[in-house]
Symmetry: C2
């Protein structure tokens, strides 16, 4: 048995997750000490205002408003970054790594945009950076991908990684309420921010898809190469049609490799009701992936919240502390990254759901069908219902088609004199496991 060692943490930030981390370190401290083989103590916490009253009963000298007190502290082994946002979080992490300290973070923005350089920096300084909490909150995702599935070539993943939008879609689907009402409720309950852009337009999921792509495909794709479509365009009517056709609608983060090229994207999809992800409701998250040896696996749980995220962060802290105790001076299992070409969205092959309104007169369908035909788009399912005032609502699902072809066809169709309105366009996922 080694002498019981003490590992000292410096925390950057003391918001919701920070408070969760400190509470968890206290609550399960004895258990963690056994598991890590060392005691883990909080040495210093960076806060904006040291005089602000705190839930945590720490002596005043634990708090500092000077980041140097943590980054340059000779006895701090690990820096836990919980500030959020890119700067100054990124530069603090950089300086901590340069000082040879291990860094633990749940900051998806920084990892998605600067993960590659930080990993490189960690390697150069024989330390490491952990970020399990950056995707899927407390659900073990990144370490299983990196370690347990290391024998697999992962070619495909599909995830519900944004709890806010999943909560909104669940409320819409189950209660028939509008996007606006569901969003307002989510804001009242603290699930959505007052400016919901980051969630509902897909930004949050896009950061996460970059990180998942990094671990699955060994390449960090830059944010401008991530295709994004949010959930603002989804109406209860779409959810009803989807259900009628055997689907639900979810906002997903998708990763594919097609002939060596990588495609990462965030958009709503119609998902067959038998797909394991279709049963993921409310604020729950899940990642579904396919490895060439393991087949289909899914990880499911709460993707956000103080304690679920703290669970991931403190799990990383325990692993990092263990490494320090056993003097493992660099990452034993580095994430291997190399650049890979990106598949342009126009070259992707997708199946589409389309809802539009046409004037109820002869020849409409013929015009639609022939325009699709000219662009090599073939149709899989069609529903037509009579609407008021001489119009008809038409819902189509296409077979799989090159995206460029579909959009060219749709452009033409929107201009047809018989088509009065295109309401919504979403991609469709066929298959999934089990059935």
């Amino acid at each position: 048995m080694e002498q019981q060692k003490e590992i000292r943490l410096g925390l950057l930030g003391m918001g919701t997750v920070g408070t969760g981390v400190v509470s968890l370190l206290h609550r399960n401290g004895e258990l963690m000490q056994k598991r890590a083989g060392c005691t883990i103590t909080v040495e210093k916490i960076l806060v904006r205002d040291t005089s602000h009253p705190r839930e945590i009963a720490y002596p005043a000298d634990k708090f500092t408003s000077n980041p140097e007190d943590i980054i340059d502290h000779p006895e701090i082994d690990l820096v836990v970054e919980l500030m959020g946002g890119i700067e100054p979080a990124r530069q603090y992490m950089e300086r901590a790594l340069k000082a040879g300290k291990g860094v633990i973070t749940a900051n998806k923005d920084v990892i998605a945009t600067h993960g590659e350089e930080l990993l490189k920096l960690a390697r150069e300084n024989r330390c490491n950076i952990w970020f399990e909490g950056s995707v899927g909150g407390g659900i073990p995702l990144l370490r299983p991908l990196k370690n347990c599935l290391a024998a697999n070539r992962v070619e495909k993943f599909l995830g519900i990684v944004n709890g806010t939008t999943n909560y909104i879609l669940t409320r819409m689907e189950w209660e028939g309420i509008s996007f606006e009402d569901a969003l307002r409720d989510a804001q009242d309950l603290g699930f959505a921010e007052s400016d919901p852009t980051n969630d509902v337009d897909g930004w949050d999921a896009a950061y996460k898809v970059v990180i998942l792509g990094g671990l699955s495909f060994g390449t960090f794709v830059s944010m401008e190469n991530i295709y994004m479509q949010g959930i603002r365009g989804i109406s209860f009517r779409d959810l009803q049609y989807a259900r009628e056709l055997g689907y639900t609608i979810k906002l997903v983060a998708v990763g594919d490799t097609v002939e060596g090229r990588v495609s990462l994207r965030v958009h709503p999809v119609l998902l067959p009701l038998g797909h394991p992800l279709a049963a993921v409701y409310h604020e729950y998250n899940a990642l579904f992936l396919e490895g060439d040896a393991v087949g289909e696996v899914m990880f499911y749980g709460k993707g956000a919240g103080a304690f679920p995220t703290a669970s991931a962060v403190v799990g990383d802290v325990i692993e990092a502390a263990c490494g320090k105790v056993h003097q493992i001076d660099s990452s034993t299992m580095d994430i291997q990254l190399s650049p890979r070409p990106v598949l342009p969205m126009g070259e992707m092959v997708s199946s589409f759901y389309l809802r539009l309104q046409a004037y109820d007169r002869p020849g409409v369908f013929a015009a639609l069908a022939s325009t699709f035909g000219e662009h090599q788009v073939s149709l899989d399912m069609i529903i037509q219902k009579r609407s008021d005032e001489g119009t008809a609502e038409i819902v189509l699902i296409t077979h799989r088609v090159k995206e460029d072809n579909f959009w060219a066809a749709l452009d033409k169709i929107s201009g047809l004199p018989d088509i009065s309105k295109v309401f919504s366009v979403f991609r469709v996922i066929q298959g999934g496991s089990q059935r």
Copy 2:
């Protein structure tokens, strides 16, 4: 960068999983080399008959029928045990650990019955034993439990860990066929063995529940303390009633802690249709657990088969090889075990489903209800349907009740003159996430 090192494996056994492991090592060799930071080569394979023709094109001198050629081989770093069964697998692992070699296995029988002593032996010899493949095939379960969720106190888990029984129950439920017919199909498809006892009576799941208990609760409970009920008593009629009441029936492995005492058991349960495990069909496995920080998480995938299991085994090999390269001479995150008291099954509190046949005459219900009442059993749901020939079929679900009380009540009820037959008794799980 370290000099590229070579890690040499000795394989004990070359059956289905062994062949999968060797194929996978070849197929994804380059990828693994990058991830492990070393080359991984197969040095020797123990087989019963070295003259037997093999799928794998290895030179004849790779094969041996003498276990000493592997266990005592000075250049073999890691021993991969894939023989199955308890002896001689256990003693080979013991000898390999004593020789300071790392051991990787998917052998649930050995780990469930001798895991504690092998882990101790590994620690004493500054090496380690990995067994991710022993539960849930390729689904990352044990390492996430041990590492990613290390900050959590896990108080409860519920798993579908036997693919054969889940396949049989799926066929019965979806197609209305009998247990016997579903079993025969499973045998024809190679999902069930000619003697199905190990699967259908719960033994396989019991070994796995012991291992899950070891990682979740830090204690290995001995097999004689595992309560077991198999699936032979389930009929399509039970599945129909369950569905009518909003449930499905699954064989589950359950772990609970109640006031510091541990309960591990394997039995069928009625599971609410909204529970994430209810959507796990066919040969798929899943583990659902609750941590005090992370909340509810679920892991899902294929629990058996050559490649899914090889995925777990080779994942372990990569981690072990990495450790060798970086000269991590003992387990960095030991499983901490300590004895804990076991909760006797009679003291458990459960809700029950009961299907029985009564003579269709006045006073039957009164007799039933008063017998239950005398034993503090209260009823939650009742269905009564008229049967042929003057009998009625009654289906009941009780509220939660101490098991001893329920069984005493049932004993008395079986003896009532109005009750002609007790068909089936299963436990019921209420709740689950999401709704």
